[in-house]
Symmetry: C2
Amino acid sequence: MREVAVIGIGCTTFGEKWNSSFRDLFIEAGARALEDAGLAGEKIDALFIGNMSAGRFVEQEHIGALIADYAGLATTTHIPATRVEAACASGGLAFRQGVTAVASGMSEIVVAAGVEKMTDVASGTTVATLAGAADREWEAFIGATFPGLYAMIANDYMHRYPLTREQLAMVAVKNHYNGARNPIAQFQQEINIETVINSSLVADPLRLYDCSPITDGAAAAILTTMERAREFTDTPVKVLASAQASDSIALHDRRDISTLDATVVAAKRAFRQAGLEHSDVDMLEVHDCFTIAEICAIEDLGFCRKGEAGKLTEEGVTSLQGDLPVNTSGGLKACGHPVGATGIKQIVEVVQQLRGEAGRRQVDAKVGLAHNVGGTGATVTVHILGV
Amino acid sequence: MREVAVIGIGCTTFGEKWNSSFRDLFIEAGARALEDAGLAGEKIDALFIGNMSAGRFVEQEHIGALIADYAGLATTTHIPATRVEAACASGGLAFRQGVTAVASGMSEIVVAAGVEKMTDVASGTTVATLAGAADREWEAFIGATFPGLYAMIANDYMHRYPLTREQLAMVAVKNHYNGARNPIAQFQQEINIETVINSSLVADPLRLYDCSPITDGAAAAILTTMERAREFTDTPVKVLASAQASDSIALHDRRDISTLDATVVAAKRAFRQAGLEHSDVDMLEVHDCFTIAEICAIEDLGFCRKGEAGKLTEEGVTSLQGDLPVNTSGGLKACGHPVGATGIKQIVEVVQQLRGEAGRRQVDAKVGLAHNVGGTGATVTVHILGV
């Protein structure tokens, strides 16, 4: 397989973007990525788009062609355009398809992007649509929502491991601190532990500030071979590993509901591919759809033992100033979570950090890892990037 | 890139399958494909699933993980499972992702499958969901349906080229003849020209028998390297080309609405990849969602000049007994059109023909071509297979 590098990145701001349609969002992110790479769109020879549920959010399928069309590439270069979907891991999968296409020799320069427009529908529709990431017949149909499912994970976890309510809140506090330093973040205000603990109860023990928001946004990354990367940039970021794993779609079919086996397996696959140890990784973007999810992710990725991530968070290890900064972007929690775009936004953040372009949230990093989760962990992608 | 071969195929019967759920359909097709290849599921190292709109048809997204789970591979091998979507070309794209994964070395043995469960919803929902393959904002919103859009293509075509109403009907007559010889076909009755011409008007000039039906079904193909194929089968079918192209999603943005440029471009790419001439191809499975679509496909793929496919059909060239059999399976018209599964069913049919396993519809073929279209032609895949 050919070695693959990221040569361009672009992102919209994340938030409730009432003035941008689904198609506008992609175009903004894609144009920024092309500008970043100094490339004309006509040079791109494949598009991979991560999107969870435009069918229900905006009544539009056929997302690849739609995006190709609005990018001006459908009637000119007739570019192959492919939408991939794995609920909230759709972005991670789009990136992986892009990596595979370049690695295989099928394509030379590809755009891997993610987009979701979530705020233009009634909130009941949003909840029902998101529940489509879980098992419709055995979870959603009987009333399970995503906060409810992650609350079960949190309860199980807190029953078995020494995680305090305050430590859980510290995940949100840290991610809001980081988000306040990220110009694209949906939430740019710092918060404190009391803000989290006193916020409305959503699904016990998860409160409003334990939950990622509903977000519009898009992100894009441009990939080519490592060999050609220097034609476009002085700082190509190499894809050291691309791994993916699945698990049961329903939580009740898991061996252990507070360990995401798909994360464990995808991480092992990724580290084996990259030939790296955990100590080689300098920063992580993990899938903190809820605060408990970040705790599980750090452990299941193998960065500490089960039950230890709360303490690590409390000690500041995962902060911008710590030894292992986690979610420097603000994570899903503060940067926002346009579900199909999140996996690509994570890549964008890792690339910015590795290039030294992360401004007020810059950490010292040569190797970064992005961890994207679909549903309650039925799909996980892990990508390791390095300079 | 490594050479890729099909080593196993499986299909459900196509039709209104009230006793099979979405997940049942895939399992049946997947199990048949594994049995055909003499393989245990644990040997598969990636799944690619084509599905257009489970989100709207069955309120379920996260299709890759769902399928992996019900195949028993999510909690055992934690198989990477990826859903791809391009409306009615979702199956063709899933096959292409599978080819890329094996060609790249990312995977050794993959299942590329397609599935759609369309009959469990109110018919208004079906029409609205299918309209999601067109441009929601500029076509569907103002009331355009798929029969309406293809009727515009038919009217434009018949205004410019010498195609008679009878020739158009002959496409349906031929495909029903073939379907009557295909055990999986939704419609197993032969019809005559009068049946078509006297059937209810749907969108002038298209009548009921000009239209493909609403269908439940699934199809699966197993791919590995050409090098390893003979471990599993004496008759590996080689993937000679995998091509894809896009066009504007809305019909009104096309250069010419009765020529599908994405078909023209994808075919050129495929023939270049395969290093073949049109005369080397012995049979075609083309995307006849409406009778006019088969006429356009034969021409746009380059098998005759624009305006000549009606005459070819009338002369019997595209019949089972002709020089260029088209839609030996019965096509979308008679075999049925479970949108996400169609592209894979086409591959299954080509493989059956090349292996000499097509029973009463067997033709003499060493090279076959499968042509899958999304929407009114905004996505097209062309695959050429050979023995």
